[in-house]
Every structure is written in C-alpha cells, then in structure tokens.
Symmetry: C2
Subunit: 218 residues, 2 copies
DNA sequence: CCGCATCCGGGGCGATACTG
DNA sequence: CAGTATCGCCCCGGATGCGG
C-alpha cells in the first residue's frame, strides 16, 4: 500500500494493515493457527491467488507472518503469525464488535459462511471474561462444517471438527452469532430453531459475565 | 468498497471502513469534532478532492457522518460523526496502540506532522485512566501549530490554540509521542530537548496510572 | 475562497488460465 | 498443492475548472 506519509500512529498502522485482505488473512491465522496456503484459500473465499501470495510476501516483509517448514511428515510449509502479527488481536476485536450491528440481518444469498469466523468472534469477545481455572470448550456447527473453540482466561484455540465439547451450538450462523453477541438469549434463540446441547448453563454464565463486564465498566 | 461477501463481523466492518482514507477521516472528526470540508482537507494532507467528497458521501450513506448546516454565522455546512461513527473510537484506539512501535523512528523527511494527531493519541490512550473528578488540560506544540486536549474520565476534547493548559509539551512530535506512549520518561525526553511547562506532576501521574493499568490488567 | 465536479494516467485488484 | 502469468477494469491520485 502506498504510505499516507503522516506521522500518526493510526496512519502508520494503516500503512501496514490497510491493504485489502490483510486483516482477513490475520483473522484466519489468528483463528486456526499456522496454516498452509490452501487452508488460507479455504478461509478467504473470493481472494485471487496472486493477491494471496502478494499479501503473504508483504506481510512477511513487514514482520506480521513467518513462513516455516511444515511440522511432522508434510513436505510443505505453513504461514504463522509473529508476535507482532498476533498483536493485531485487539484491532480485530474492536472491528468484530463494531461489526455486530450489521450481522442480525443474516447472510446475503451469496455470502460465504464459515464456522471459524463465528468461533473467532466468540474467542475475541468472551475469552477476557473467563475464570482462570475453568476453561470452556464450545462446538459451533453452522452449516455442514463445525469447529471447537477452547476458551481460557489466557487465550483460546480453534480446531476443525466437533469432538466432545462442553457445549454445542447448532443452527444458522445468525442465531449462533446472536447468542454469542448477547443480542439473543439462549431461550429466545432456541425458540427460533437453535439447538443447544450439553452444559448450556456454563455458556450462559460466561455470556452474563461478559455482558456485565462490558455494561459496567465504561 | 467492494464487499467481501463473508458473513463475518470483521469482514462486515471492513466492508464499511476498509476503504482508503475512511478511518483517517473518522480520526479527524473524532479529534476536532464537527468540521468543514476545508478543515478536513487540512487534516488529511495527500487526499484528492474527489476522494474526500466520495468518502464523505459514502460515509453519510453508511450512517457514519451527517452533513449539517454550520452553526452561528457561517453560511457553510459541517460534517459530524454520528453515534455509529463515534463507535469507531475503539478501532482507532487499537490501531493507534498497535502503530506505536513504528513511531520512534521519527517522521520521514516528507511526512506530514500535525499536533491533533498526537493529541488524539493522548486522548485515546490516557482518557480511560482519568479520575472522575480531576480533568487535565494538556497543550501540545509540535512545530508551529498547537492544540489543547482536555482529558476527562467521560471523554475528551481537542481544540486548536494554546490557551492556558495545566501542562504544556513543546518539542518534536517523536519526543512528545514518546512521552505519551510511555516509551520515554519525562526526564529522559527533557534531556533530549522536550520542554515541559506547568504541572508535569499531574501528567506523570496519569501516565503512571495508564501504564500500571495496561501492565496489570490482562 | 470554499466546496465541490470533471478529466485523465497509473496501479491495485479480481478472475481465469497455466505450470513446477 | 502452491504458486506464476496475463489481462481487463476500476479505484486512486493529481490537476484543473467552475459555480456560489
């Protein structure tokens, strides 16, 4: 991106992350951790292949990602966030929160829907409210795919699959998102077709804690 | 901006604020309040006139700004943030913080430098640490222009000029910014040429409070 | 002078095809 | 699987013009 040439930390930040797709690439890497090129393509429907490569190269030069040899047997390599790149978590959290009012309308007919996006929203907004001693695993199933989020006070992890979670949320992405953002209560969403399995009490406890935290502290 | 067409609140947010210059326009309106077209041009060196109009129209359609008749005698009109637009304060705060590591190098030879940018940084990062009963007015003089920031627990205000503030910071933007971001102590910056006048003790108290708040809270 | 509108050149971006 | 190459378009930047 062309620099704004302004000695302002906001402008400087945008010089690096203001380019199209950059923050969404960070989103994918933050959600799913070290990822291969094709994994990123899956999570970024609509991106052109040349742009994905371009962005990854630039982000590597800017110190946001590193390209490493893949672990274990795979002969390929993976892209991974650096600490500097992970520092964008606060930016993504702010954007994710600000974007909430545009979500209740539901996905347009040609919008892509992927569960790790909802999972990351949960991780970004709920992780801060976790008790240090009681992590929570949450399965999110929107459409045919599903992921499991592990929420802890010290961070989070998201993995594809649906292995034994404490709670499972199954239904349309807007219902699941509505519950996670506090716009809908679990009871309301259930009435609208959301399926909740497992320890729903633990989920509502975290949601309540998050809401009071945001409502009380200015 | 072309939509990402992803049902993700981050992508939705970027559909609205991801266009070039949009967040910097928000920065200017957040810093200086209702502004005329030419005021915005002053604060956004490098923007083309057609782009500024384009962005303002789009932002108006998206509900970020409103165009009002100018108050008092002026026959013109002003642009003002809506509550939705002001909601981007958290996004700007996160970006401003993330951009700090790119500031100590100082402005490049053709970088623009304007005091309200430094003032907004101070407002965004320090306002949260203010005691409810003790607002602080801070004059910032970098180069020939100067502004006064009023920091309160409930918000902030920035005005051009230099009328009687509690504290005055005069010097290069990187020294002033270094102190405000906590990278330099007042003593260190003073040794490097920063001039501090007035109640520097009240400034250091707020800075200390901010640092401990960010250092302690996870 | 302020607040735009118009025009034009260049580059970023999007879609597809192709290759090691 | 992980990119490279190509092409067309539209966004962006810079300049100029113009009405109130």
């Amino acid at each position: 991106m062309r620099s704004y040439q302004q000695y302002c930390s906001v402008a400087r930040a945008l010089d690096v992350v203001g380019d199209r797709w950059v923050l969404l690439i960070v989103r994918e890497l933050l959600a799913l951790g070290p990822s291969r090129y094709s994994d990123l393509q899956r999570g970024l429907p609509g991106i052109a292949t040349n742009l994905l490569v371009d962005r990854l190269r630039t982000m590597e030069a800017d110190g946001l990602v590193v390209r490493r040899e893949a672990p274990a047997p795979a002969g390929s390599h993976v892209y991974e966030l650096t600490p500097r790149g992970r520092g964008l978590e606060d930016v993504l959290r702010a954007l994710a929160r600000w974007g909430v009012p545009s979500m209740p309308s539901g996905p347009a007919h040609d919008d892509a829907v992927q569960p790790q996006w909802t999972a990351l929203f949960a991780a970004l907004t709920l992780s801060r409210a976790m008790r240090p001693d009681a992590p929570l695993t949450l399965a999110i199933e929107t459409g045919s795919e599903s992921v499991v989020v592990t929420l802890g006070a010290d961070g989070f992890a998201i993995e594809r699959g649906s292995g034994g979670a404490d709670v499972t949320l199954r239904g349309s992405a807007s219902l699941v998102g509505g519950v996670l953002s506090g716009l809908l209560t679990v009871a309301e969403a259930t009435r609208s077709g959301l399926v909740v399995e497992g320890r729903s009490d633990r989920l509502t406890a975290v949601l309540d804690h998050t809401l009071t935290q945001n409502g009380a502290a200015p």
